[in-house]
Amino acid sequence: MNNRLFLVLALAIAVAVFVICRWFAIDYLFFAGYQILLYVVLATAWNILGGYTGYVNFGTAAFFAMGAYSSVALIKFFSGVALPIPLLMVAGGLVSGFVGLGMGYLTLRLRGVFFSIATLALAVVVQTLITNWDYVGGSRGAYTVRPMVAPIVGSYMQYLFLLMLSLAVAAIATARAIEHSELGYGFATIRDDEAAAEASGVPTLRLKLIATTLTGMFMGMAGAPYPYYVTYLDPASGFNLAFAVNSIAMPLIGGTTTWAGPLIGALLLGSVQQIATVSTVLGTHPEVNLLIVGLLLIAFVVAAPNGIVGFFQARLRQSRAA
């Protein structure tokens, strides 16, 4: 299937999802759906670097929050003018993409783990900076007032949902296009054996920088509408560790080598967490949710290293061989 056909198909599915959700006409469905779609974007973005090139990024929360806080800063700076959210998403994507590029440039010439450690530290430091930056609310947090009416489709929650749905389609289409392109094969050589790739003339540093920039950009874009989604944003929620854990757990549980892995992982884990939040059986303590995600992550990396997609691919291969 070529890329254009895939994009059309993905858009068709997205439209169908939106129509079905409209048909139910429950605003909570859009609220919960937004969260799941957000995780689809974050997991797919993480996988472009983590799954395709094998470099682990622990700083999802930082890239995401930079997108969210660049929105807060812009909204405050242009107070009075209603900035369209797509514009904020572009701004957030630029900020996070640029930081991703800078991080990569400083650390990717060294061994891969230094990049991972630096992203871990980045989360702490960006949080420190934001907490001390009074302009965007500092540790007190900032309120964002949603406009009374959305530009299209009526309710504002539905508008946000639609935006995140479009971003999810864009992220997945990008990930899939990369997979079957020269870029994707270059990424795969880095994952399999970086020294051999370098020796064969693959421009590894440039490819890695493209991957970190793309990852950061999509995470920042996913973060940009967040102030409108939560209406109150403080560093503790913007830098919530749940973003980092989920964006790593979802691709690893779904499978890291294809675009379908993060999607499956995000839909599965995201829905389970949403259900656990509303049901009184599991949702007694919000931390229990995260404990389940963490334990699943450990269980999958130990027992099923290729995730759900890898498991089915292996089954398929076996049945073909038989």
Partner: protein, 292 residues
């Protein structure tokens, strides 16, 4: 704020004491990451476990936190052995330590933190000992609070003992050997996996001590461990990966810089220092201060 020489000297001394403690926090990672090449980012989680173990023993039996840290050593040693066992079977032997091994340790870090929140909540916990609130030692204008002095001394003692162990005993030398050339060790008919098991277990055991030192210095809550990741790895890399004297030197340097930053700009800025340190080290001198 008026920046007097008095204030600056005291900040430097406080930083040196803090640095001694940071050295104890880092020494475990110097072994696991520096010598064994195991990127144990979950080390801070074990330090938090050590701190809470000290809190429990202190709370229930009034046990001195340092004694508690020593009492818990065997348990942490066994815990480390168990973690290495899983790590070796699931990742090292399959050659997948880079991506999935990292994710495994990240999962451990996260699960431990959440489990501590579920059990103890997010309240700050602290320990009681007669010397923690004792009036500070004074030399002229320099003040040495016991709360900082004792952890520093215990930390340096621990590192000294470890250094002697590594350079004098057979097992210690084998650990140094496995970090240099595992294949050669195998040719000498020693089992590198068993040596690494002992070394990793030892690195986790140090978390018992450093955890009990942490809870002496400041009250703890579960998410605090994450703040230490940047510091630990900054110190480990700057110290030259696995060199103990380098670790102590780098830790003292970071302690002083952090302490002076906190004095001038306020304590809410100090977590950023470690990161700046780390990035600078990686960009300028990845081989560390006393690099090979």
């Amino acid at each position: 704020m008026d920046l007097t020489a008095d204030l600056l000297i005291n900040a430097t001394v406080a930083g040196l004491l803090l640095g001694g403690f940071y050295a104890a926090v880092t020494v475990g990672v110097s072994i696991s990451f520096g010598m064994l090449d195991i990127v144990n980012i979950a080390h801070p989680a074990f330090i938090m476990l050590g701190a809470y173990a000290a809190f429990r023993l202190n709370d229930a039996f009034g046990m001195d936190p340092i004694v508690a840290g020593i009492v818990m050593l065997p348990i942490f040693f066994l815990m480390g052995a168990a973690v290495y066992g899983i790590y070796h079977v699931a990742f090292e032997r399959r050659g997948q330590e880079s991506l999935r091994g990292l994710a495994f340790f990240f999962g451990l870090l996260f699960v431990t933190e959440v489990a501590l929140v579920l059990v103890y909540g997010v309240d700050y916990r602290f320990v009681q000992a007669p010397y923690i609130d004792a009036p500070p030692l004074r030399f002229g204008m320099i003040e040495l609070p016991w709360r900082m002095l004792i952890p520093c001394v215990v930390a340096l003692l621990t590192i000294g003992l470890l250094q002697i162990y590594l350079s004098r005993t057979f097992m210690g030398r084998a650990i140094a050997a496995v970090s240099q050339d595992p294949l050669a060790l195998r040719l000498m008919a020693a089992n590198p996996v068993r040596v690494k098991l002992v070394a990793f277990a030892l690195s986790i055991a140090t978390a018992s001590i450093s955890g009990s030192l942490l809870i002496m210095i400041q009250p703890v809550e579960p998410s605090m461990g994450r703040d230490f990741i940047g510091r630990i790895f900054a110190i480990c890399v700057l110290g030259g990966m696995g060199s103990f004297p380098g670790t102590v030197l780098a830790a003292m340097l970071l302690g002083v810089v952090e302490s002076i930053t906190a004095t001038i700009f306020g304590p809410s800025w100090s977590p950023a220092v470690a990161f700046g340190f780390l990035l600078l080290t990686l960009a300028v001198r990845p081989a560390g201060l006393l690099g090979r």
